[in-house]
């Protein structure tokens, strides 16, 4: 069972409704993740990264969103067909999440130790003493002294709070961890500490992870494969070597070119002109075509198919492999 597929998303489409307009946040997304793999889900604000993650945990806002199509297969079962009760058992035990903002994702009136205990007690029947010792052990795993068990979140710094978030997420030894911009709110030296910790824990527990981020630097530090999202679709997907060494989609190219390179002499940054499209009024054909420097008439006609340029390297562009 080594490296078996843990999660497979097939043709997922999710829309939000706002003032009677349909906002297509995720459109026909396919994704698979194996045990021990860390997948970086990269894109700009509004690309659909977080919506994808919330769909997997089924914590989308019920009133304003709907899953239009697709399957999310987790251990042979389609998550989208499970009852609320079954879903509650999966959340936290099998699939856990680390949220972006450690300042708001912890309960301010509960001690951090109790917050870790709460997760464990939901999914096991430990007695009080065992609960406490397991929660204390988790604090130590993430590098917090266990004598801080009875402290409240406001007594911790941002980096320490994010460590608590990680401790909660890992406390039931989940098979899949979804980390939504886990270091975005942190300073760089603290970010380096947290990434280092996540790398160690990943190796130790062999947890599969989806890392949502807009930072290609963070992806290079921690991921083994990458999916680049644009306007609700994955436009390029491959191993980290394929994406960093040989990216082919014009949007991926634009993303890399936008980042100032600290190892090279400065020059004017190459920019992608314009803005991402309005998700309630998407352009016809390829949604990147209005901004694409290589666009041809054909690009505006129909949405490009996924092209497999190498085993495991998929590009949604008619030019893929032809440039």
């Amino acid at each position: 069972m080594e490296n078996s597929t843990i999660l497979e998303i097939k043709d997922l489409s999710v829309s939000y409704t706002s003032s009677n307009k349909e906002i297509k946040a995720v459109r026909g997304l396919d994704l698979a993740i194996r045990q021990g793999e860390t997948l970086g889900l990269v894109g700009e604000t509004g690309a659909g990264k977080t919506t994808t993650a919330l769909s997997v945990l089924r914590i989308l806002p019920e009133v304003s969103s709907s899953i239009k199509s697709g399957e999310i297969m987790f251990e042979g079962r389609d998550i989208l067909t499970l009852s609320r009760k079954e879903m509650r058992e999966i959340r936290g035990r099998d699939i856990a999440m680390i949220f972006q903002d450690p300042m708001t994702s912890l309960d301010p009136v509960m001690t951090v130790g109790r917050q870790i205990e709460e997760m464990i007690s939901l999914h096991t029947d430990c007695d009080k003493k065992e609960l406490r010792s397991r929660a204390e052990a988790m604090l130590e795993v993430v590098g917090i002294r266990k004598d801080r068990f009875d402290d409240y979140p406001h007594q911790f710094s941002g980096g320490m709070k994010q460590r608590v978030g990680i401790a909660i997420a890992l406390s039931c030894n989940p098979k899949l961890l979804i980390a939504d911009e886990p270091t975005t709110a942190l300073d760089v030296t603290i970010q380096a500490q947290v990434l280092n910790l996540m790398n160690q824990l990943k190796e130790k527990y062999r947890t599969a992870m989806i890392l949502i981020t807009h930072d290609l630097g963070v992806v290079a530090e921690i991921c083994s494969s990458v999916a680049i999202m644009y306007a609700g679709q994955i436009v390029e997907y491959g191993s980290i070597e394929q994406i960093y060494g040989n990216h082919m989609h014009p949007y991926t190219e634009g993303l890399f070119d936008s980042i100032p390179d600290i190892e090279e002499e400065k020059s004017e940054l190459k920019v992608i002109d314009g803005l991402p499209p309005d998700p309630s009024a998407l352009p016809a054909g390829c949604s990147f075509s209005p901004r694409c420097p290589y666009a041809t008439d054909r690009c505006g006609e129909s949405c490009p198919d996924d092209v497999q340029v190498e085993p495991g390297h998929i590009v949604k562009c008619i030019l893929a492999g032809k440039k």
């Binding site: 700009e44 941002g158 603290i190 290079a220 070597e241 400065k266």
Partner: protein, 314 residues
């Protein structure tokens, strides 16, 4: 010695709190020349924004002098200050909260003209249109409100507001931190082009070292209210001296694979700027700390072309 456009000497800004005095900016000195960008980097709470604001007297400095074109503006009266602020402007970090949501783009940009005595509405409109052109805002947006604009355009409005009085010095307080990378690149290119054309001097405050290196001529690194190292942008990256600078550089995630880098990961957090530790403020996290570091506070001194405050270079 040639006169600098801006010369900050021994600037201090302390805030009284119920737990004691918060030393936000503690004895900071630097100069900025015409057409130059000085980058000011550091982590949250190191005092970089407070420095920017104290220079413009948006915070009243506790002590120190700020010579602008040779004159100490710390001693200026309110009236003199209003006059000089035409020449010293600021662009704020968050284009979502720094624009009045009830003013349209035209009004947002022209209000500073109005305050500064341009009473002819037609002239104001002409100048607004001109500056909108300069920052790349379409004229059709004249009557749009901030909520109708995306983050990049909002930040362009913020920049237009700063430029309309044609200042010679602008504090850029994290102007691209709230923007996506593609938009960030557009704004960085704009700022650099404007500087080339019009000779603005920038104090560019940011926590993002790649961005600061890209835009700055010289860079000052701050830690807990102090400048710990100051150098040209290429020297600072090629040959960082202060252990904190080294750690900062090593912490930047770089979007490339298989790079060989010395990983200097700091332990612990930045201590509180309220009652900071005696001696060197970085000592508690420094892997090279010696006995003297706890006894005497290191001062900025010249080592080669760099200024550094560290006992390793005594």
């Amino acid at each position: 010695m040639a006169e600098h456009l801006l010369e900050v000497s021994n600037l201090k800004k302390y805030f009284p709190t119920k737990d004691g005095i918060l030393y936000a900016v503690d004895d900071v000195s630097f100069a900025v020349d015409k057409g130059e960008t000085l980058g000011l980097v550091g982590e949250s709470g190191c005092g970089k924004s407070t420095t920017g604001r104290a220079i413009l007297r948006l915070h009243e400095p506790t002590a120190g002098t700020v010579l602008f074109k040779g004159d100490d503006i710390v001693r200026y009266s309110k009236k003199q200050l209003k006059e000089i602020r035409k020449d010293m402007q600021i662009v704020f970090q968050d284009p979502y909260s720094s624009l009045n949501p009830r003013m349209d783009v035209r009004h947002l940009i022209e209000v500073s003209l109005e305050i500064n005595g341009v009473h002819d509405a037609n002239e104001r409109l002409e100048r607004v249109k001109e500056v909108m052109d300069v920052v790349g805002l379409e004229q059709r947006l004249l009557n749009s409100y901030p909520h109708e604009l995306d983050g990049g355009r909002r930040q362009r409005v913020g920049i237009a507001r700063a430029l309309i009085l044609n200042p010679s010095f602008i504090v850029m307080d994290e102007p691209v931190s709230a923007l996506d990378v593609c938009i960030q690149a557009q704004i960085l290119n704009l700022l650099m082009k404007l500087q080339e054309k019009r000779g603005y001097a920038y104090l560019f405050i940011s926590h993002n070292l790649s961005v600061v290196k890209h835009i700055s001529d010289r860079i000052a690194v701050m830690y807990l209210g102090k400048i710990v190292e100051m150098s040209t942008y290429d020297e600072l990256f090629r040959n960082p001296l202060h252990p904190y600078t080294k750690a900062l550089l090593a912490s930047i995630p770089i979007p490339k694979l298989n790079r060989k880098r010395d990983k200097l990961i700091l332990s612990g957090d930045v201590p509180s700027p309220i009652n900071p530790p005696p001696g060197c403020r970085f000592r508690g996290r420094c892997p090279y700390a010696k006995q003297i570091c706890g006894e005497a506070e290191p001062v900025l001194r010249k080592v080669g072309d760099t200024q550094v405050a560290c006992h390793l270079y005594d």
